[in-house]
């Protein structure tokens, strides 16, 4: 039965995607992307990926929409030109789709426990996590410890993207058609959303911290928590105007956060070397290897959370400052 639900959701997703491509109003396309993100998250949840669904929820529902809308506000809302070489592109795309669909007939059936993916390293992770790390969430264990190098790399990609946006949008001239005081007031005149938003902000922050530090026991971790905490500050910025948000968390502090996250992560790795282990080997951090692993995961998740929060907020402010 649940498979049928999944199929229904996927069908809706395809319809949404076609709608996104067909509309020439970019605002509508962004709204439909919001729906697509909700559908994808629901699908992830049906496919047993609670952690991934939480990430998609944290990123897709709020931050992605906010970023696209601020980019639209700075560029244009309408797609002016017709597509180029429509027929040729369609033929290419249709042919490629058919080839991929033909290739899927060789794939193992959906949910097959004997598929090559399931028989390689995954059973080892599931079996050894209680022994080496002893936390219930295997996803966090793999993310933080077994594949710590990968995650370090991803954190550096996020870091680089953030620095890139700051370089692109940081300096230079701004468009500046709107009076300074008008643009800075945010949604201050909308009384009801403002009151409700102000009630909500502390709860979002609290939930973000819960997700950060509960990540070893349930769905959650640094990536999700970073996005949720960033979302709460973005909510504040939307309600009270961007300037007020910057006075709460100034740009310099954000730059500090961006740098701190990868430094903390790398520092934990180096501490492993100093204490006589390998890079990112947390077992040596404490006299009990299992405790050491848990401590290491806690620290690197904190590093991930800090850097994701910093980068997402810096990106948001870079776009918002461009409109001033």
């Amino acid at each position: 039965m649940i498979v049928i639900f999944g199929i229904f959701l996927l069908t809706l997703l395809v319809i949404t995607a076609i709608g996104i491509v067909r509309t020439d109003n970019l605002f509508v396309a962004v709204m439909l992307m919001g729906i697509a993100s909700l559908l994808i998250a629901a699908n992830f949840f049906l496919l047993d990926a609670a952690d991934v669904a939480l990430t998609e929820a944290a990123v897709g529902a709020g931050i992605s929409t906010v970023l696209f809308l601020s980019a639209l506000a700075l560029t244009s809302e309408r797609e002016r030109a017709k597509s180029s070489n429509r027929i040729l592109s369609f033929i290419v795309v249709a042919a490629a789709a058919l080839i991929i669909i033909y290739a899927t007939f060789d794939k193992p059936r959906f949910g097959d426990p004997e598929a090559p993916v399931q028989t390689h390293v995954a059973p080892w992770y599931l079996e050894k996590t209680p022994e080496y790390i002893d936390i219930p969430n295997v996803v966090t264990a793999v993310l933080g410890s077994f594949r710590g190098y990968d995650t370090l790399g991803e954190v550096f990609v996020v870091f680089t993207a953030g620095i890139g946006v700051l370089f692109l949008l940081g300096g230079g001239k701004a468009a500046g058609v709107i009076p300074q005081d008008k643009i800075n007031e945010g949604l201050r005149h909308h009384l009801i959303p403002r009151v409700v938003g102000r009630v909500l902000i502390p709860f979002i922050l609290l939930f973000g911290l819960y997700v950060q530090f509960h990540g070893e026991y349930g769905p959650g971790g640094g990536f999700q928590a970073g996005a949720i905490i960033a979302a709460s500050v973005i909510l504040f910025a939307l309600l009270e105007g961007e300037q007020r948000a910057l006075s709460v968390l100034p740009e310099r502090a954000l730059l500090g956060l961006i740098a701190c996250g990868p430094l903390l992560y790398g520092g934990v790795g180096l501490a492993g070397i100093v204490l006589g282990g390998n890079f990112l080997d947390y077992s040596v951090l404490s006299s009990d290897p299992v405790k050491g692993q848990q401590l290491g995961i806690l620290l690197i998740e904190a590093g991930v959370g800090i850097s994701v929060t910093g980068v997402l907020l810096a990106i948001f402010h870079a776009f918002a400052a461009r409109g001033r």
């Binding site: 992830f44 047993d48 560029t75 007939f105 426990p113 995954a122 793999v142 993207a161």
Partner: protein, 117 residues
């Protein structure tokens, strides 16, 4: 039932190609980025689909009882990829905003015409 088991992969293929179509055929740069996001989403779905095991549950040990778990590895890869995806999309949007400021347009052919001059 055998064909139903492949439906997820077909949706992946179609979604991937819808995104690809937006990237190659649309001239608006933001629309291209939206297409790229769809493309990304399709790849995410493929990975998570492959990790699903029949009658499995999310790879978080419940307090009682051992059960069948789905594959944690694809989930780890995609979890990080989603956040990386939004950061790189933001970078792309940053570039588009700068292009708009310098060229006054975000339509590909207009930018090319300005470049020719």
């Amino acid at each position: 039932m055998e064909l139903l088991g492949l439906y997820h992969y077909w949706v992946f293929a179609i979604l991937l190609m819808i995104g690809f179509y937006a990237v190659i055929a649309k001239r608006n740069l933001i629309k291209k980025l939206i297409g790229l996001s769809l493309f990304q989403a399709a790849v995410f779905l493929l990975y998570i689909t492959m990790g699903k095991v029949d009658d499995g549950t999310a790879p978080i040990f419940p307090e009682t009882g051992a059960v069948v778990f789905s594959n944690p590895l694809p989930q780890v890869l995609i979890l990080t990829a989603i956040v990386v995806g939004i950061s790189t999309t933001a970078l792309g949007l940053g570039i588009v905003v700068r292009i708009k400021e310098e060229y006054g347009s975000i339509e590909e052919h207009e930018i090319q015409e300005i470049d020719k001059r």
